[in-house]
């Protein structure tokens, strides 16, 4: 399974990477099949924000640990709910890692951001405008949590607890950068991003209602 020790943990054989991809895509597919009334517009909306966020992450890649995906997962989780939030996190990770770098860590990044989306769905899922105060608190917590979660990918048989703590301690400056960047994204982009999704989602729901009525009448 493991080919060598890499910068983010073990380097895997291509078969194992394929298996990880298959599992992640499968989970995203299952999450998106329910509820079953997905309209084309909703598919288009989700695809658009996935593409936009993945492109933004790739564009920001030269800036170390500046991760717009963390803020996006919180907002998408809050606006589109748990299932679509998690699916969004998985798809953005897979898509952007195709360009940036793919491997064992993809599993940790996808699951990490999926949990961030779940947090957004649980604690920010309110009608109307986003609660910026909550969003900022969650930005701090989510960024730190995500970094430490992904750090688990470096653990191997020879890694001691002290090694891991030292690794986390060495990465604190990068964690701080992630936190500040996510807060900045939250302040500058989150309201517009949230409104865009909300408006589009409400249009989708209206269109869906008409469609359902048509079906009932038919």
């Amino acid at each position: 399974m493991v080919l060598a020790s890499g910068t983010h943990g073990p380097v895997l054989e291509s078969g194992w990477i394929l298996a990880i991809h298959a599992v992640l895509i499968g989970i995203a597919f299952l999450l998106l099949t329910k509820p079953s009334h997905n309209s084309r517009r909703e598919v288009l909306l989700l695809s658009s924000i996935v593409l936009f966020t993945a492109a933004l992450r790739v564009a920001m890649e030269p800036l170390p640990n500046v991760q717009p995906v963390t803020m996006a997962c919180l907002v998408v989780g809050a606006r589109l709910g748990l299932r679509r939030g998690i699916a969004f996190a998985i798809m953005v990770t897979l898509l952007s890692n195709m360009v940036i770098s793919d491997g064992w860590w993809t599993l940790f990044q996808a699951s990490g951001w999926a949990m961030v989306a779940a947090v957004g769905a649980k604690f920010l899922n309110a009608e109307g405008e986003l609660n910026m105060k909550h969003l900022l608190y969650l930005s701090v917590a989510s960024s730190l949590f995500f970094d430490w979660w992904v750090s688990l990918s470096i653990i191997e048989s020879g890694t001691t607890f002290t090694d891991f703590i030292l690794y986390l301690a060495n990465g604190l400056t990068f964690d701080l950068l992630h936190i500040f960047a996510t807060m900045a994204f939250a302040l500058w982009l989150a309201p517009a991003f949230s409104n865009l999704i909300s408006e589009d989602a409400s249009l989708t729901e209206s269109a869906l209602a008409v469609g359902e009525t048509d079906v009932v009448l038919g």
Partner: protein, 545 residues
Amino acid sequence: MRRVLILLAVLCFANLASAQDPANETWQRDLDNGYISTAPLLTDDLVIVRTSGTWDGSGSPHIFAFDYSGELVWQVENPHSLHHDLSPLLLVEQGQGCGGTWQDLLIVAWADGKIQALDVITGLEKWSAQTEIITWGITGSLAIDSDLVVVPTRQGLSTYCLADGALKQRVELEQLGWRNGVTVSGEAYLLGNEEGILNTVYRNGTVISESIGDGKIRHAPMLTNSGILIHLQTASASEVFIAGELFLAAGPSPALPAIYNDRVYLATSEEFIFLDCTLQCESIGSIPFHSNGEIAIQIIDDEQWKVWAPQNNPEGGWGIFTSTDSWYLLQTSIDDYATAAPGFSSDGSYALGNDKGILMFYNNQQIPQVISQSDEELDYTFIITTLVLLISILASAPAFVFHFHERVLKILLPGVVIFMAFNITMISTAWSGFLTEQIEQEGDWDDSWPDEWKGTQVVVFELPEGEVVFGGMSGHKTVENLTDDAAFRLGILIEKESFAIGDWVKSIDGYEGAGWEFRIDGERGLLAINEAQVGSDSVIRWFPA
């Protein structure tokens, strides 16, 4: 008629341009044969350079001779040479003396103790001799004494007739030498060694030994008007002695000093030092610079000269110094660590070689590709991002005064993010250094190692065939620099991979296995090798994952 004249003029110009002598073109050759650690030599029509070999079985040390158009004329290989081929090449003009006459010769000293005299034009061997091997052979610079070549061997000194290689004098010494170059004075030969002792070997065989200090003498002693100058390498720094007296303290890993017109030039990992020894030596200034290799003088005319020093860090290039307040860095597009001085020809052409094993030739018409930097380089990224940060702080101040907390963050955070993102290497390195200082190290000392390694930097390679260790090093700041130095001295090839977060070792001495990891003083390395900091007495241990 006017059009015809213009056409003729254009044709003439084109013809002139196409008729340019190809031998006057700039060129470069990737010798793919290890480091170039000694200055290339330029004769009237040849560029001669030596390489260290790769030591992974794919290439042994070579001498290459190219003509001025870059065509290979001849090459000589020494498949039996050991590591550390650092002895500078020596050109000797034709002459006569003991043993008869000789044509122009190239004298080559090898790390397997062999001395070869080669015909400069053909590369064919004229004569050879063998000196002792104690782990390795000759690594210091040779000297000419009339009709003799003076050879500082691993544990002694030998002189040979230039004409036929007949041994003229042999003196055994007590101490071992490394890069122990020899200097010819009026009545004796001077050479140092790894125990900080200066040996004066008289032509009648008498030896007088004088302890200079607790350190290593790794250059040919220098004759000045104030006495013999020694730049002693100590455990974590260096000391300059003149006439046996301490003259000044300097940074670690001293370079091979140079002297011209009673001006002495010294360098370390921290500075380039100017001394004026016209009457009594006095220090006239220093400039922050990192050079540990050869320093060379380029003579422009009787009154003007330039001093070149290779920059031994990843940025590479050659510092060119004319005075204590005038210098610049010559850089090429293929720079790497550099320890070899340039080679100059009488017509102003010059050749450069670096640790990538790339030889570059510039004719006298060529302006170097990139000349940058005078005095200290300004870090524009840091300056601009700091300005952005300050502006964001100032802009957020009114919001702070009126308690608009969200607005404060909205204005301040982008500035903080920009500052941190563009300076993260500096910030994380400083943080890592701080953490390292706070953590009490377990240490990784092995009692079987020599006591003189204590307090110095040591590298251990746990290779499949056994442990290989090199100690006694100093002045290195990162795991990468320290590992490279140890590997070079041990003749071990390190293959690296570069990632966005830094460099990592892919294979050591050809062994890739499941990857390589390192420990610093017993603690597992957690950063890339070019980021991980080491102390002045750190032990780096490389082991298979």
